[in-house]
């Protein structure tokens, strides 16, 4: 038992979700990612004298959606505060955020680590705006400022310190990503920065109920880095405690090159943000009717879908999780399985053929060239024994993609691949195969029963894939007996 086993790591997250809206939180500039620098600003996002904020309706709706999905309490009245500090990419010299009375309070995000169910409690969700970008590496003497991102709407989700491992954090963030995509409030793309998190890490002896002093690792935009950062930080803190030191609360940066956390060099010693209610923004009031409407039109939730795929469609957990990763795929599956009345076959088809095709062609399911009707027909051909699944998958499917205007049956006939369970035709082939391999026949009859696979292969080859496996198998066994 190592010294590290005496401790448990306690983690809380602050997740920033950049919302997918056309315009920014408090002004009508566009929010498109990757635009030429400083081409998406206005006098308001540049904080010109005399400018004032106007709150984007979308941001409020998205905040409520997220709150409803997580089972939070929606505050019918919430307001904004100013967080005052100076930074080159913070045009107003303050960020508009919600410090005192946020829009959503409480809630839970459920997920599983293997078989173990985990429920992470949400402390609150609040609305705020993003800062611009500071680019340090384009010049030796100057930092470049791009304000396209300044003012982009963010939701910040703050959790309770309920995490106990980097793995839990990883799965949580994955589930969050899935959730925001299901809700269509964000694309949850960490690489592009539309989702990032700060990790508050502390350690304590197992069995302790009080929390240790925590350190905040900021701006993790990759879960790989976050896992390493948390693991490193946890060890660093334990080492300190074991050596008899105490932990000082600090803000840290993780360097993926060196793999260590270092304190951010503070521009000011105390972060006194001087929060006060923003006098330029009246309170946000949401009535029950609006909340109810959002609740009723709330997109289906990922864990609801996964449960449905397992319980109603009887899919194994692995398949259910895979299909549920993207809402469009999950819903596509449900439609298809309902039409085809064979969930397992539909799952196989989508997981093994459709999805890889979409990924390869870099298209979404709406652009998939085959209709669900065609896929149902395709599955039926396999179900009714007209095609072996391997022939169907390997030969018919690609051919169908090439000729999407044709039916699967037409393609199969054109390629002459319709399985035959014509006994005469198959008997002929079986007889030929057995005649060609007397040694193996003898071996089989002596006890090597697994040679049936060999014979099957030969029959399939000779029949150019047209032999119906079940019928062949039965015939072979009869003849070999």
């Amino acid at each position: 038992m190592s010294v590290y086993d005496k401790y448990e790591t306690v983690i809380g997250l602050e997740v920033h979700v950049q919302l997918s809206s056309l315009t920014k939180a408090f002004c009508a500039d566009r929010t498109t990612f990757g635009a030429p620098p400083n081409s998406q600003t206005s006098v308001i996002s540049l904080a010109h004298p005399g400018t004032l904020p106007r709150l984007n309706k979308k941001q409020v709706a998205h905040a409520v959606r997220l709150g409803l999905a997580l089972g939070s309490e929606i505050n019918p009245k919430s307001y904004f505060d100013r967080k005052n500090y100076f930074y080159a990419d913070l045009p107003k010299g303050y960020q508009i955020t919600q410090d005192n009375l946020p829009i959503c309070v409480g809630g839970v995000l459920p997920f599983s680590v293997g078989e173990r169910a985990v429920n992470i409690r949400i402390h609150h969700i609040h609305m705020e705006e993003d800062a611009g970008k500071s680019i340090h590496d384009l010049s030796d003497h100057a930092t470049m400022i791009d304000l396209n991102r300044a003012g982009v709407p963010l939701l910040e989700v703050v959790t309770e310190p309920d995490f106990r491992s980097p793995e839990e954090v990883d799965i949580f963030m994955n589930t969050m990503r899935q959730l925001v995509r299901y809700l269509e409030i964000s694309d949850g793309n960490m690489e592009q920065g539309s989702m990032r998190c700060d990790c508050n890490v502390s350690v304590r002896l197992k069995g302790e109920t009080t929390y240790g002093e925590r350190c905040e690792i900021k701006n993790m935009n990759s879960m790989r880095y976050a896992r390493r950062a948390i693991a490193y930080e946890s060890k660093r803190q334990i080492d300190l405690l074991e050596a008899g030191h105490s932990i000082t609360q600090q803000t840290l940066n993780f360097d993926p090159q060196t793999g260590i956390t270092t304190p951010l060099r503070n521009k000011e010693n105390a972060h006194d943000y001087r929060y006060f209610p923003d006098p330029d923004l009246a309170p946000v009031v949401i009535d029950k009717a609006s909340i109810d409407h959002l609740r009723q039109t709330l997109a289906v939730l990922p864990w609801e879908v996964t449960t449905r795929l397992r319980d109603e469609f009887k899919l194994p957990a692995k398949d259910a999780n895979l299909l549920a990763e993207e809402k469009e795929i999950a819903l596509y599956f449900i439609d298809l399985a309902t039409l085809a009345n064979d969930p397992k076959a539909c799952a196989n088809l989508i997981i093994n053929k459709v999805r890889p095709y979409l990924q390869q062609e870099k298209i979404s399911i709406e652009k998939f060239p085959l209709s669900q009707k065609q896929l149902v027909a395709f599955i039926k051909l396999i179900q009714t024994g007209k095609l072996s699944s391997s022939i169907a998958y390997q030969r018919i499917f690609p051919a169908l993609i090439e000729s999407p205007e044709q039916t699967p049956l037409a393609v199969a006939e054109r390629l002459n691949l319709i399985q035959s369970d014509d006994e005469d035709f198959l008997t002929k082939i079986v007889d030929e195969v057995l005649a060609q391999h007397p040694k193996e026949v003898a071996a089989y009859q002596k006890g090597k029963k697994n040679l049936i696979g060999f014979f099957m292969g030969e029959v399939m080859k000779k029949s150019r894939g047209k032999a119906a496996p079940k019928t062949c198998n039965a015939l072979l066994r009869k003849k070999l007996a």
């Binding site: 340090h136 400022i145 951010l264």
Partner: protein, 97 residues
Amino acid sequence: MKVDKPLISKLENLAKLALSDEEKTQLLTDMNDILSMVEKLDHLDTEAVAPLIHMSDQPQVLRKDEIKHELSKEEALKNATAKVDPFFTVPKVIDLD
């Protein structure tokens, strides 16, 4: 409440100012005078009073999510004294943030 030099430094830090010694001395006097005047408020019993936070009774009227009123990059950079097209510039920041 008495304002002293260390407090002035702290405030300068938060407000991003760098006053001369003369200015600081004068400011010390002025601030103390003003705060004495302001401390009159201590006489007011506000125990059970809710702070007045918003001047307007009406709730926020939300804005539709429609693109409007954008500035061109040229217009955005127009008033900046230090720029390297298409960026605003500041002296190199060495902090990692």
